[in-house]
C-alpha cells in the first residue's frame, strides 16, 4: 500500500534504487542495462505524475512534507516538500531523463553502464535539489549535479575539446557557488539553522542582505547563465553528447532560476529590489548580445545554446518584475524552454547520429529526403520563436505583461530579443530544411524512426498543451506564487 503523503520520498529514492540495481547488472548485458534504467526512470515519472494528481491546488504552502534527521548535532536536518513552484521542475526532470536515455539508446558505444548510472544518479540529485527544504542540503545537491554532468561531458563528449569544455563547466560553476557556500555559512552562523521554513521568519539587515544576495547571485547567475559568466554554456553544450545537452538545457539551467525564486527572493527581498536595475541591465545585454551572436554561428548546437541563453535571460526579466503575472510567466517559460530547447537539441542529435557533423553548411534541403523530421523541426522552430499556440508564446507573453507593469523600457528591449530570435531560428531552419540537397557532402538520408518519434511525441504534446490550455499549469502554481509575492512586499 502506497501512502500518498510519502510519494515524494519514493520519487526521490527511486532513481537511487535503480542505480543500485543497475550496478549489479553485468556490463556486457547491454539490453538488460538499458531496460533496467529506462523502466526505473519511467516508473519515477509515473510516480511523480501522481504528485501532481494528489497536489492540493488551493493552498500555497508545502505539501508532502517529510522530515528526516541527518546531523542533529549541527541542527542540519533533511526536510523535504513540494509547492507549486518546485512541482513542475520535478516533473520536468523526471520527464526528461527517460527521454535522454531513449535519445542515446544506440549512440553510446562504450561504458554504457557508467553512462546510465550517471544519468540515474543525476536524476536523484536533481529531484533532491527541487524538493529539499534546507539551504545547506540544497547546496549539497546543487553542487553534486556537477559531478555526473562533468563525467558525461568529459567521457562521452564528441571531440577533443571536450576536456576544455568540462573544465569550463566545472570551474565556472564551482567558483560561483563557493561564494554562495560562504554566505550559507554566514546565514547558518547568524540564524543557527538552515531550515528553509525557519529562515523565512528571520530577517537580515539591509547591508547583510546585499552582500548575501550578491554571493547567491554569483552562483545562480552562472547557472542561468547571465552575460559575463555565460561562456561555459556554449562550450559545454557543443561538446556534450545529445542527452547531456538535453539535460543541461532542460533542467540544469533551471537550477539558477529556481534558486532565485526559492531563496534569493524570500530571504533577501530588499536586496532584490535594490539590485533589480543591475539584473535588468545584465539580462537585456544577455538577450540582445547572445541573439546577435547566435546569428553568426556555424555550429548547429552552438546556435541553440545561444538561444538558450537569450531565453533564460528573458526569464530573469520576468522574475525580477516581482508581480504574480511576471513570476508565473517566468516559471512557465522555464518549463517551456525545458521542452523546446531539449527538443531542438534532440533534433540536432538525430542528424548528428546519422552524419556525425553539426556544421550547418553540410546540411541543406532536408525537406526532400526527411519530411517527417523537418515537420518536427518546423514545429519546434516555431515554438522557439514563440508562435501563438505553443508554450513559449504563453510564457513570453506573461513575462512581457508582467515586466510592462514594472518597467516599460525593459519590456521594449526584451521584446526586441524575440524579433532577433525570429531571425536566427527561421534562418537556421531555412538553411537546413530548404534549398537543394547537398549531394556532395551527404549521400544517403534516413528519416526519423519510431524510437525517435516517440522521443519527440511527449515534448510536442507538452508544448501544445501548455500553449493551448496553460490554465492547468498556472492553477497549480498560482497560490504558491501569490504567497511568495505577498511575502516579498510584506
Amino acid at each position: 500500500m502506497l501512502y500518498i503523503k510519502n510519494i515524494l520520498s519514493y520519487v526521490f529514492v527511486l532513481p537511487l534504487i535503480g542505480a543500485l540495481i543497475l550496478s549489479f547488472v553485468p556490463a556486457q548485458n547491454k539490453s538488460l542495462l538499458k531496460a533496467v534504467a529506462l523502466n526505473c526512470s519511467c516508473l519515477t515519472f509515473i510516480l511523480s505524475l501522481s504528485l501532481w494528481v494528489f497536489f492540493n491546488k488551493s493552498i500555497g504552502t508545502f505539501q508532502f512534507v517529510e522530515k528526516f534527521f541527518w546531523i542533529p548535532i549541527l541542527n542540519i536536518n533533511f526536510p523535504m516538500g513540494v509547492d507549486g513552484i518546485s512541482l513542475f521542475f520535478i516533473l520536468l526532470t523526471t520527464l526528461l531523463i527517460p527521454i535522454c536515455l531513449l535519445a542515446s539508446w544506440d549512440s553510446i558505444h562504450f561504458d554504457l553502464k557508467k553512462y546510465l548510472l550517471s544519468f540515474l544518479i543525476m536524476e536523484f540529485f536533481l529531484i533532491g535539489v527541487f524538493c529539499v527544504l534546507d539551504l545547506f542540503l540544497f547546496y549539497i545537491f546543487f553542487e553534486s549535479v556537477l559531478i555526473p554532468m562533468f563525467l558525461i561531458i568529459g567521457i562521452w563528449g564528441s571531440r577533443e575539446r571536450k576536456i576544455r569544455a568540462s573544465y569550463f563547466f566545472f570551474l565556472y560553476t564551482l567558483l560561483g557557488s563557493v561564494l554562495m557556500l560562504l554566505s550559507i555559512l554566514y546565514i547558518y552562523y547568524q540564524a543557527g539553522t538552515t531550515d528553509y521554513e525557519v529562515l523565512l521568519t528571520f530577517s537580515f539587515s539591509p547591508l547583510e542582505q546585499k552582500i548575501l544576495w550578491f554571493a547567491f547571485f554569483a552562483s545562480f547567475a552562472t547557472k542561468v547563465p547571465m552575460v559575463p559568466v555565460h561562456l561555459w554554456l556554449p562550450e559545454a553544450h557543443v561538446e556534450a553528447p545529445t542527452a547531456g545537452s538535453v539535460i543541461l538545457a532542460g533542467v540544469l539551467l533551471k537550477l539558477g532560476t529556481y534558486g532565485f525564486i526559492r531563496f534569493s527572493f524570500p530571504l533577501f527581498p530588499e536586496a532584490c529590489f535594490y539590485f533589480t536595475p543591475f539584473v535588468y541591465a545584465l539580462s537585456i545585454v544577455g538577450i540582445i548580445y547572445t541573439s546577435f551572436t547566435a546569428i553568426r554561428q556555424s555550429d548547429f548546437k552552438r546556435i541553440i545554446a545561444y538561444t538558450s541563453v537569450a531565453h533564460m535571460n528573458l526569464v530573469m526579466i520576468g522574475l525580477f518584475s516581482f508581480n504574480v503575472i511576471g513570476l508565473e510567466g517566468a516559471i512557465l517559460q522555464s518549463l517551456s524552454h525545458g521542452f523546446v530547447a531539449s527538443a531542438l537539441f534532440l533534433i540536432i542529435g538525430v542528424v548528428y547520429d546519422r552524419h556525425h557533423t553539426r556544421m550547418v553548411k553540410y546540411y541543406g534541403g532536408l525537406v526532400h529526403s526527411m519530411p517527417l523530421y523537418v515537420l518536427i523541426f518546423l514545429f519546434f522552430t516555431m515554438a522557439n520563436i514563440g508562435l501563438p499556440g505553443t508554450s513559449s508564446f504563453v510564457g513570453e507573453f506573461l513575462i512581457l505583461t508582467g515586466s510592462f507593469k514594472a518597467n516599460t523600457t525593459v519590456t521594449f528591449l526584451g521584446a526586441t530579443g524575440m524579433i532577433i530570435g525570429g531571425c536566427y531560428s527561421l534562418w537556421l531552419f531555412n538553411r537546413v530544411a530548404y534549398g537543394n540537397l547537398k549531394i556532395q557532402y551527404i549521400k544517403s538520408y534516413l528519416d526519423i524512426n519510431k524510437r525517435e518519434f516517440l522521443i519527440f511525441f511527449p515534448l510536442i504534446l507538452g508544448t501544445l498543451i501548455m500553449g493551448i490550455y496553460p490554465k492547468i499549469f498556472l492553477d497549480s502554481m498560482h497560490f504558491s506564487i501569490n504567497m511568495l509575492v505577498e511575502f516579498m512586499y510584506f
Binding site: 541527518w70 546531523i71 542533529p72 548535532i73 549541527l74 557508467k114 540529485f125 547546496y139 549539497i140 545537491f141 546543487f142 553542487e143 553534486s144 556537477l146 559531478i147 562533468f150 563525467l151 568529459g154 567521457i155 571536450k162 576536456i163 568540462s166 573544465y167 566545472f170 570551474l171 564551482l174 567558483l175 563557493v178 557556500l181 560562504l182 555559512l185 554566514y186 547558518y188 552562523y189
Partner: protein, 504 residues
Amino acid sequence: MRIDTILFKEVVILPELFLGFCLVFLILHCCFLSVKKKYLLIHNSIVYLSILVLFFLCILVLNDSLKVLQLSYFNDTIIHDYISFSSKLTVGSLALFSLLIMHSYIKSQKINQFEYILLILFAVLGLFLLCSSNDLLTAYLAIELQSLSFYVLAAFKKNSTYSVDAGIKYFILGAFSSSLFLFGSSLLYGVAGTINFEEFKDLLIDVNSIETSFLNTSLIKIGLIFILISLLFKLALAPFHTWAPDVYEGSPSASTFFFAVVPKLAIFILLLRIYYFSFYDFFESWRYLVVISILLSVIVGSFGGLEQRKLKSLLVYSSISHMGYALIAFSAGTFESIQMLFCYLIVYSFSGLCVWSIFLLTPLKTNYLQKQNKDLTDLVLLSKSNYVLAIFFTTVLFSIAGFPPMIGFLVKISVFLTAIESSMYFVAVLSILCSVIGTFYYIRLIKILYFEKVLVGKLYYPITTQSSILISFLFFLFIFLFINPTSLYLFAHKFSLLFLFSSI
C-alpha cells in the same frame, strides 16, 4: 574514585608497555633468525607479526575503560584522558591500516630488511607517547623518537641517491626544528620554573593579575613562538614547508605514506595541549602567526600543486593545503573549533589512507620495478583495467577536494564555519577561493583517469583479494561517514572534552 587503592596504577600505560615489550621481542626474533638462511623470508613474517601487534594494541587501547576524566602518572609526566585515549585509538588504527596497505609494496620493492617495520613500530610508540605527554620534555623525547625513526625510514633505500638525499635533508631540518623546540622550552622553563602543562595552566590562570605580574610575559611569548615554529616545521606548513616536497618525493613511497598520514594528528594534539590547555591566555600573541601560516600554506598548497607531474609531489602540496585548512580550525579558538579540527584531521587521515592505498597497492607492470614515483599519466589505464578501483579513486578525490556529496565537504565546511564564527572572514574567503583552485588538480587527475583516449599506457598487476577487501572497507567507511556524520562528530567531541573544563 578508588584510584589510590590500585597499587600498580601505571597499568593504564599497558598499550605502550605492550608495544615496547613486543618491540624487544621482535628485535630478538629478527636477530636470531637473520643469521640463518631463512633471512630473506623475515620481512614477510615480521610484517604479519607487527600487524598482529598493532591489532592487539588497538584492542588494548579500546579495552582501557576510562573511568575518570583524567589521570596523570609517572610523576605527572604522562597523562591519561579522553584526548589521549581517542587519539591513541585513531593513531593505532591508522598505523594498522597503513601497515596492511604497505605490505604488498614492501614485497614488490624487495625491502627485505626487518628494520623497516620495526622502525615504523618505534614511530608508533613515539606517537603514542606524544599523545599522552604532559610536559615539554616528555613531548620532546616522544617527538624525537618518532622523528628519528622517520629520518631512517626516509633514507632507507641505500642505493638510491634521492632516498639518501631525502633522509639527510629531513634529518638536518628536523634536528634544527627540534632544537627550536628545546630552545622555546628552555625559555618557558626559565620564566615559569616548570615544564608541566598543568602547572603552566595553574600559574598563568590570569596573566594580568598582580600575583603573576612578576612573570616576564614577553619571554613566554618568545618561547611559545619558537615552539610553534618548530611544530609547524613538523607539520610541513608554509613558510616552513620547503623541505617537504624533496623529502616526500625522495623517500620510499611507503615511508612517505606513513609520515604524510599518521603523525599529523599526534602533533596537533601536542599543539592543542600547549596552546589551548596551558597557554590559552596568550592566544592573541600567537594567533596572528598561525593566521599568516594558514594563508601561506593554503596559497602554496593550491598553486604549487598545479604544475606537478608526479603523483607523490601532488599529494605533498595537497597535504600542505589540507594542513592549512586544519590550522584554520586551530586558530579559531573556540570549543567547537577543536571538535571540527579533529573531524577534519580524522577524515584527512582516512582519505590519505585511501589515496595512498591506490598508489601502493597497484604495482606497475613495467620492467623497471624500482620506479617508485608514479607519473600522473601512469594512471591513464586505471579506469580501463579496473574500473571499480577507478570509481573508488574518483570518490576519494572528490572527497579530498571537498566536493559536496562526500564527507570531505562536510568537514571542510565545518572548518570554514568555525572561521566565520570567530569573524575570520578574510581567511575564510581567501582559503575557500584557493580551495577552488586546488580542486583543479584533483579534477585533472579525474580527467587523466577517464577522459583521455590512449591506447598505450602502463598496465597494473591485478590487486590481491586482501587488498580489495581493505579497499572496499575504506570505501564503505567513506559512504557510511557521509550518511551518518553524527558518529564522526560525536567521536571528535570526545577529543575536545579535555578543553571543556579548561580556561576556554
